[in-house]
C-alpha cells in the first residue's frame, strides 16, 4: 500500500522550519516533503514538537522561521482562514449548541451552496461516516467515537486538500480506538485526501500511516514507512521508541563485527561504520532472538543455526506467560547488568523444554542485530 501513494505529486513542502517559544526551541530546522494522497503520522513522545509542527502547517501557531509550501503556493505567513485544510482536534471541538447536521453544515454556509445542496451534502457525509440517523441530535447525546466521526465529517465537508488530525483518538477507550483507526484509514483511502495525523501512540502510527515521521526534541529522527521504521531504525531513539528493543553494551571490532560487552567473541551485525574499539550499543528486538534449546534435546539435530558466530549460551532467569508467547529474561556474563529479553513461541518453549533456571542457546541473527553509537543519558 505504500507504493500506491508514494507516486503522488509533491503536495506539502516544509523547509527549514524553526519555532521558538521564548528561549525554548520547539522545532529545529525541520524540512519535510509530503506527497499528494499520503497518510503521514507525526510520532514522538509528548513535548517533541509534533503538535507544534501540525499547528504551523495549519497556520494556527506560526513558525518563527522557515517556509511551508502547499500545492505549489507559499502559505508560510497566511492565517488559517486563507489556507486549505480541515482539522480534527483531540477534543473534537464540536459546537455543543448546534445539532449534528448544523455542525457539519457550518463550513458549507456562505460558500455559494443553497440550502438543499447543503442538506444533500450533509446527508452524504453522515452516510460516509456511518451515522445517517443522528443528524438531529446534539453532540452531547452521542458517544465519544460518534462525536469523533462527526468532527471528521465536518472537517472534510468542504473537500479540503489537506486533512489534519491532532491526536484524534486519544480521548477514546481502547476498543473504540482500534475500530476507528481502521475506519479513518478506510475513509482517507476512499477520499484520497492528503492527511497528517499527530499521535504519541506507536501502534496507531504503525497501523495507519503510509509514512511515519518520528520526532524527538524538536527534530525529525527518521522518516519512513512503518516497516522501515520498525525494522531499520535510523538510530537508538527510534529503535527504542518504536516497539521493544534490547540494548546491550558492545564494542566495535572494525570490519570484522562487534563484541557483546567488552570482550565476547566477535559476532556479526548489520553493517556499521565504527572505528575499532569504540564503545557502542548492540540492539535486537525480543522477537528476533532465535531459541536453540540447550544442546541435550533430541530435536537439536533438526535445529539449524544460521550464524554460528552469533550464538550465546544463556541462563533462562525468568519466564513470563503472555498468552500467545513467552517473554523470557536471559542472562549471560557478556550482557553485564542488562538482561536480554526474548519472546519465544509456545511451540519453541515446548519443543526445547525451556524452564526457568535452565541454560539454553540463543542466536542473535546477523541481519536483525543492530549497532548504534552510544548516547549519553540526558
Amino acid at each position: 500500500m505504500t507504493q500506491a501513494t508514494a507516486s503522488g505529486e509533491l503536495y506539502l513542502s516544509i523547509s527549514n522550519l524553526w519555532k521558538a517559544f521564548g528561549e525554548f526551541l520547539a522545532l529545529k530546522d525541520i524540512s519535510l516533503d509530503i506527497h499528494e494522497g499520503e497518510f503521514i503520522c507525526f510520532l514522538g513522545p509528548s513535548g517533541c514538537g509534533k503538535t507544534t509542527l501540525l499547528r504551523a502547517i495549519a497556520g494556527l501557531d506560526l513558525q518563527t522561521k522557515g517556509s511551508v509550501m502547499q500545492d505549489g503556493k507559499d502559505v508560510s505567513n497566511l492565517p488559517p482562514s486563507e489556507r486549505d485544510f480541515g482539522i480534527v482536534f483531540q477534543s473534537y471541538a464540536l459546537f455543543p449548541n448546534l445539532t449534528i447536521e448544523k455542525n457539519i453544515a457550518f463550513g458549507l454556509e456562505n460558500t455559494g451552496r443553497d440550502k438543499s445542496e447543503i442538506a444533500v451534502r450533509v446527508h452524504e457525509l453522515l452516510e460516509l461516516v456511518g451515522l445517517p440517523d443522528q443528524g438531529t441530535k446534539y453532540p452531547a447525546q452521542l458517544s465519544g467515537g460518534q462525536q469523533q466521526r462527526i468532527a471528521l465529517a465536518r472537517a472534510i465537508a468542504t473537500n479540503p486538500g489537506l486533512l489534519l488530525l491532532d491526536e484524534p483518538l486519544s480521548a477514546l477507550d481502547a476498543k473504540v480506538r482500534v475500530h476507528l483507526r481502521h475506519e479513518i484509514k478506510e475513509l482517507q483511502r476512499k477520499l484520497g485526501v492528503t492527511t497528517v495525523m499527530v499521535t504519541h501512540d506507536q501502534e496507531e502510527a504503525l497501523t495507519m500511516a503510509d509514512k511515519i515521521v518520528v520526532m524527538n526534541q524538536g527534530v525529525i529522527e527518521q522518516v519512513g514507512s512503518p516497516t522501515e521504521i520498525y525494522r531499520e531504525p535510523a538510530n537508538l531513539f527510534v529503535a527504542d521508541f518504536i516497539g521493544e528493543m534490547n540494548q546491550l553494551p558492545a564494542t566495535a571490532r572494525g570490519k570484522a563485527g562487534i563484541s557483546i560487552g567488552a570482550d565476547s567473541d566477535i559476532v556479526k551485525s548489520q553493517t556499521h561504520h565504527f572505528s575499532d574499539g569504540e564503545t557502542i550499543v548492540a540492539a535486537i528486538r525480543p522477537e528476533d532472538v532465535i531459541p536453540h534449546g540447550n544442546g541435550t534435546s533430541a530435536s537439536d539435530e533438526t535445529d539449524v543455526i544460521g550464524d554460528p558466530e552469533n550464538v550465546f549460551t544463556v541462563k533462562l532467569a525468568e519466564m513470563e506467560f503472555l498468552g500467545s508467547f513467552w517473554r523470557c529474561r536471559l542472562q549471560n556474563e557478556y550482557f553485564g547488568a542488562s538482561e536480554l529479553i526474548a519472546d519465544f513461541s509456545i511451540n519453541a518453549v515446548r519443543r526445547f523444554e525451556l524452564e526457568e533456571g535452565k541454560d539454553m542457546v540463543v542466536e542473535l541473527p546477523q541481519d536483525r542485530l543492530m549497532a548504534f553509537p552510544r548516547v549519553e543519558a540526558n
Binding site: N16, L25, N77, P79, P80, S81, A140, V219
Partner: protein, 673 residues
C-alpha cells in the same frame, strides 16, 4: 542522534515570520482597541485629571502686579506701588484669604482704604511679569502694559490666582483636623463593620451549608435581599427605629443612632449578601473526606471546626473581609443619611465638592480614599488567585447529618438574622405608608406623590429604570464582547494583557472618586466629549465603567469553559469569527450573559456614589431622589422611593429568572442528554 543544540542562538539569524492578518484578526484587534480606548477614556483619563487636580494649588500672588495712583487731578507722579506693601500696610487680606480655588477672584480696592468710586482719582495697574492675569470687568489682561482706569472702573478690577503644582493641598488637608480625622473614622467603621458582618455571615452560611435545618431556601432568598436596595435605605429604617422619634429609641440607652452605631448597623445590612455569597461558596467546596478523616481520628467537633472547617474556608473569609471593608469605606449614601456629625471620607468628598465647591480638596480626599480601597482590592485579588489553586482538588462534597439540637440553634440564629434583614425592609415599607410619623399613624399613599417633593418626582424613578435598562444592554454587549476579544483572539499578547489589567481597575476605584474624576474630565470645556456632560449618556458610561470588573470576570470565566479550538475550527472552515461568536459563543454563554445584565441593571438602579456628581435636573435618578428627599427632611417619601427601587429590582430578578428559564430552554437544549 543528531539533535542540534537546544540553544536559541543555533537558530539562523534573519527576520521572524510575521503573520499576514486575516480579516477576522483585523476586526478582532480593532474591536479590542476600541473597547480598550473606551476604558482609557472613561477611566484612565478622568483619574489622571483628578490626580493632577489634587496637586494643583491656586494662590493670589500680589507681587505680580504694580499699581500707580494719581492725585485729585488725575496726574500720576510716577511712584509705583507694590500691592504686597499695600496689603502689609492695610492688612486687607490675610494669608488664608490669598489661597484660592481655580475660579477665585480678588478685588483690589480694599488695598486702598480711602478708595471711593466717585473720586476723580485715576489708577494704573499692570502685570509686573508677562503671564500675570487680572480682569477688568470680564476682559482679561495678561500683558505688562499699564492700564489706566478711573476709580469707577478700578472698582471692577479683579486679580486672578496663579496655578502651581505641589503638595500644598495635601499639606493643607493633613493640617486640618476636621478633614484628616475622617481617615480614622472611616477606617474605624470599616473595620468594625467588617468584623461584625463577616462573623454574622459566616455562621449564617455555615447554617445553610452544614446543618440540616429547615427553610434553607427562604433564608438564602432573604440573605440576598439587601443587594436590591441602595445602601442608604437601611439608614432611613434606622432613623425610624432609633432616631429622635424612633420606635425603639430606648434600646440605645441614650446613645445616638446618628454616628458610628448607625453606620455600622446599616453597613452590616447592605454588605451582608456580599459576605454571605463569598463565604457560602467557600464552605460549599469543602471536602467531605477531610471530615471523615477527622472523625476517624476521633477529633472533637470543636477541634474539627478549627482544623478543618476554618482552614478550608479561610480564603473565603479573607476575601469576604476585604470586599466588605472596601464596600463600607467607599460607601457614601449610608453615612450621608445616618452619619450625623461623624465625618467619613466618602462624605467629605461630597461636602467639599457640593457644599464648598472646593474641587481641589475633593480630589485630595479622593486620593486619600483610593489608597485603602486599592490596598483592599489588591489583597483580595491575591487571595482569590490562591483560592483557585485550592479548588482544583478532586474533592467529595460534604453532606451534613441531622443533629436536632444544633439544627434548632442554627434555625434560631438564622431566623434572627433574617428578622434583622426583613425588619429593616419592613420598617421602610411601613414608614412609606404612614401618613405622618409619629403623630398620624393612619395609612395613606401620600408619600408616593413624589412629584410634590424635592428630588425629581416620578421622573427620576423612570430615569432610573431607563438607566438600568440601557446600562444592562449596552454594558453587557460591550463587556462580553470585550472579554471575548481578549480571551479568544490570537497573538497581540501585550495588548491583551494590558486590556486585562485595565479591566480590573474599575473595581478598585470608589464610585464617588470615579464620579468626581468625571467632573474634572468631562466638564472641561476644552474636552470635545463634554457634550455628554449632564446627559443620560454619562450616567450610563459611569455605571458601565464602575461595574465593569465583576461583569468582565463573569464573562471571562464563562468563556474559559469554551473549547479553545472553536476559533481554529471556524477559521479552518473559512467562516468569519463573528459568525461563530453569534451562533455558538453567545448561545452557549447565555447564562453568563443574563447574569451580567441583571447584575448591571440592579446596580445601576441602586448606585448613589457613582452618579451623585453626574446627574442633572433632567436625569435625576430614584436613588438620588432618596438621598435628596432625605436631605430635605422628607424621610417617608425617601423610604417610599427606596422601596420602589426594591420592588423594581425584585421584579427584575423574577423576570430575569423567568426569561432565563425560557431562553435557556431554547439555547441550552443541548445540555439535556
Amino acid at each position: 542522534m543528531t539533535s542540534p543544540s537546544t540553544n536559541i542562538s543555533s537558530m539562523p539569524p534573519g527576520p521572524v515570520i510575521k503573520s499576514k492578518l486575516s480579516r477576522d484578526d483585523v476586526i478582532m484587534r480593532s474591536g479590542m482597541i476600541v473597547i480598550a480606548l473606551y476604558l482609557v477614556v472613561t477611566l484612565a483619563f478622568p483619574l489622571y485629571a483628578m490626580l493632577s487636580k489634587s496637586f494643583s494649588t491656586y494662590r493670589f500672588e500680589l507681587s505680580q502686579y504694580e499699581m500707580q495712583v494719581s492725585d485729585q487731578d488725575g496726574v500720576f507722579d510716577g511712584a509705583i506701588l507694590n500691592p504686597v506693601d499695600l496689603n502689609a500696610a492695610t492688612g486687607a487680606y490675610s494669608d488664608t484669604d490669598l489661597s484660592a480655588g481655580s475660579d477665585s477672584r480678588l478685588p483690589v480696592t480694599q488695598l486702598f482704604p480711602d478708595f471711593s468710586f466717585r473720586s476723580p482719582v485715576m489708577y494704573q495697574i499692570r502685570n509686573a511679569q508677562p503671564g500675570g492675569r487680572f480682569l477688568v470687568g470680564s476682559t482679561l489682561h495678561d500683558d505688562t502694559e499699564w492700564t489706566t482706569l478711573d476709580s469707577n472702573s478700578f472698582r471692577r478690577v479683579q486679580l486672578r490666582p496663579v496655578k502651581s503644582t505641589g503638595f500644598d493641598n495635601f499639606v493643607n488637608y493633613f493640617s486640618t483636623p476636621a478633614l484628616f480625622n475622617s481617615i480614622k473614622n472611616s477606617l474605624f467603621i470599616a473595620v468594625v463593620s467588617t468584623v461584625v458582618t463577616v462573623t454574622l455571615a459566616f455562621w449564617f452560611a455555615y447554617a445553610l451549608n452544614r446543618s440540616c435545618m429547615r427553610f434553607k431556601g427562604v433564608f438564602r432568598l432573604i440573605a440576598m435581599a439587601p443587594i436590591l436596595v441602595p445602601s442608604l435605605l437601611p439608614g432611613i429604617a434606622l432613623v425610624y427605629l432609633f432616631g429622635n422619634q424612633g420606635m425603639l429609641k430606648e434600646l440605645l440607652f441614650g446613645a445616638s443612632i446618628y454616628g458610628p452605631i448607625g453606620i455600622v448597623i446599616g453597613s452590616v445590612f447592605f454588605t451582608f449578601p456580599h459576605a454571605f455569597l463569598i463565604i457560602s461558596t467557600a464552605l460549599a467546596i469543602s471536602d467531605a473526606r477531610l471530615y471523615e478523616a477527622a472523625s476517624s481520628l476521633r477529633a472533637t467537633p470543636w477541634r474539627t471546626f478549627w482544623t478543618v472547617t476554618i482552614p478550608g474556608a479561610r480564603y473565603g473569609l479573607i476575601s469576604a473581609s476585604f470586599v466588605v471593608f472596601n464596600l463600607v469605606i467607599t460607601d457614601f449614601g449610608l453615612p450621608k443619611v445616618i452619619g450625623g456629625q461623624f465625618n467619613v471620607l466618602a462624605v467629605d468628598i461630597y461636602k467639599q465638592v457640593i457644599g464648598q465647591q472646593n474641587f481641589e480638596m475633593g480630589a485630595v480626599v479622593s486620593v486619600v480614599l483610593i489608597i485603602p480601597a486599592i490596598f483592599a482590592f489588591a489583597l483580595d485579588r491575591y487571595v482569590q488567585s490562591k483560592q483557585v489553586a485550592a479548588l482544583s482538588a478532586r474533592s467529595v462534597p460534604y453532606q451534613p447529618n441531622p443533629n436536632p439540637k444544633m439544627d434548632r440553634i442554627f434555625l434560631i440564629y438564622s431566623s434572627l438574622v433574617g428578622l434583622f434583614i426583613v425588619g429593616i425592609l419592613a420598617v421602610c415599607q411601613f414608614a412609606a405608608l404612614i401618613k405622618f410619623w409619629p403623630y398620624d399613624l393612619s395609612l395613606s399613599l401620600n408619600n408616593y406623590q413624589f412629584d410634590k417633593m424635592d428630588g425629581g418626582g416620578w421622573g427620576s424613578y423612570y430615569n432610573s429604570i431607563k438607566l438600568g435598562l440601557i446600562t444592562a444592554v449596552v454594558g453587557t454587549a460591550v463587556i462580553f464582547f470585550g472579554a471575548y476579544l481578549v480571551e479568544k483572539s490570537k497573538g497581540f499578547r501585550v495588548g491583551r494583557s494590558l486590556f486585562q489589567m485595565i479591566a480590573m481597575l474599575p473595581m478598585a476605584i470608589p464610585g464617588m472618586v470615579l464620579g468626581l474624576a468625571y467632573i474634572f474630565f468631562f466638564n472641561n470645556p476644552s474636552n470635545p466629549l463634554n457634550v455628554i456632560y449632564g446627559t443620560m449618556a454619562i450616567l450610563v458610561i459611569s455605571a458601565v465603567t464602575h461595574f465593569y470588573t465583576v461583569s468582565h470576570l463573569t464573562a471571562v470565566t464563562a468563556l474559559k469553559q469554551m473549547d479553545r479550538e472553536f476559533e481554529s475550527v471556524s477559521a479552518s472552515l473559512k467562516q468569519p469569527t463573528l459568525k461563530l461568536f453569534s451562533r455558538v459563543t453567545v448561545p452557549v454563554c447565555m447564562p453568563a450573559v443574563l447574569d451580567i445584565s441583571i447584575y448591571l441593571f440592579v446596580n445601576a438602579m441602586t448606585t448613589v456614589s457613582a452618579v451623585v456628581f453626574l446627574y442633572s435636573p433632567k436625569t435625576s435618578l430614584a436613588s438620588i431622589a432618596v438621598l435628596n428627599m432625605d436631605d430635605a427632611g422628607d424621610i417617608a417619601p425617601a423610604a417610599a422611593m427606596g422601596m420602589m427601587i426594591f420592588y423594581t429590582n425584585a421584579a427584575a430578578r423574577i423576570l430575569h429568572l423567568i426569561a432565563s428559564k425560557g431562553i435557556l430552554r431554547r439555547t441550552q437544549a443541548w445540555r439535556a442528554r
